[in-house]
Symmetry: C2
Subunit: 217 residues, 2 copies
Amino acid sequence: MAYRPTQRTEARRTATRERIVGAAHDLVARGGYREAAVAAVAARAGVATGTVYRHFPSKAELLTEVFRRASQHEVDATRAAVDALGPGTPAADRIAAGAEAFTRRALRGRRLAWALLAEPVDPAVEAERLQFRRAYADVFARTIADGVEDGQLPPQDPAFTATALVGAIGEALVGPLSPTTHPTDADANALVARLIAFCLRSTTDQELSPDVHRRAA
Amino acid sequence: MAYRPTQRTEARRTATRERIVGAAHDLVARGGYREAAVAAVAARAGVATGTVYRHFPSKAELLTEVFRRASQHEVDATRAAVDALGPGTPAADRIAAGAEAFTRRALRGRRLAWALLAEPVDPAVEAERLQFRRAYADVFARTIADGVEDGQLPPQDPAFTATALVGAIGEALVGPLSPTTHPTDADANALVARLIAFCLRSTTDQELSPDVHRRAA
DNA sequence: GTCTATACGTCGATAGAC
DNA sequence: GTCTATCGACGTATAGAC
């Protein structure tokens, strides 16, 4: 009789896969991609090294999945922070809330945030970074667009501003998240304050005089 | 008689090395890292593949050197654009000039700029990216610090603002530089205008009300 | 899942410099 | 005569096609 996967074997297989992803996630969160050697992942998941390759074609694919899940979680959390504020909340407050949530979460889970944001890693994961930057930008872009729509924010291209903000926030976090740095709580608060101020300046302030446009033409 | 390298053989060796680096640079500028296969580099440099490995321990090391040189060139060009303005020039104009020079150069050599800024690549090169982001930030930080010093710009942490600006500019360029995009001249001008406006808003506008700091505390 | 094409890195041989 | 830079084919891994 031919072998056919049953629900039971499927479930076992899925469970093993999840344990592997979970183990890899934990190791990345603990010590970055460097700690996520396939042998270490397998050991933590309670499987043999070869088993990892029965579920993922390569280490890069495994790391990509870990990255994708963790990043999506952060995007969702950022969006939730923005949406948590009631319907009448000013756009500026929403933007500040998103920036603050993102930053505080990153500083709380520094090692994981560093892995997601800046740690040099396989090009396959790098490609995912480009995608998720856009996802973050979409969160801000929607809020900015709403604010422009109802006149709370000055006229601007919401997608552009949002993209620039995401770049600014990310780059500002690279230093503080770097494994060689050890920011205090005061440092963290100062960073959040600066980031919020930066975001609001670049989003809410009035357009500059037309000579900016002349200069660029 | 024992063999000892002479000036002549040294010069030949250096020349070969330079040809290899130059060939790799050209290929990266033409089609990104993907085009820079070792065999292709060797062919363009007029040497055998094995020769490349007599000068570089690995492809990653070769690409790292290419990246480092090209990036340093851009940093220098950006700094030159900032410094080209006379001693009395307002800090805001300097910042705008730096942002514009960087952006226009990137848009002119899109493929190379994409490789330097965003193309997924070996982690060794990625690590260099982190370094050069700081170098770009230093260019802006100095100008901002001068502006704050003499009261042209509102009080702020120059290093922070500069870092955020570099992130913002870089991220805003990712989309337009992407090989799948084909911006027109009008697009390029609009992008430059938006970037300059963004940089000036976030650098020159007055500090926000103290409740921003309350919010972050 | 297999198979092929591509690409990195190595190695023994060779030519030429000292 | 000794040493080294160079060559270019080959081993091996991987990725993409079917």
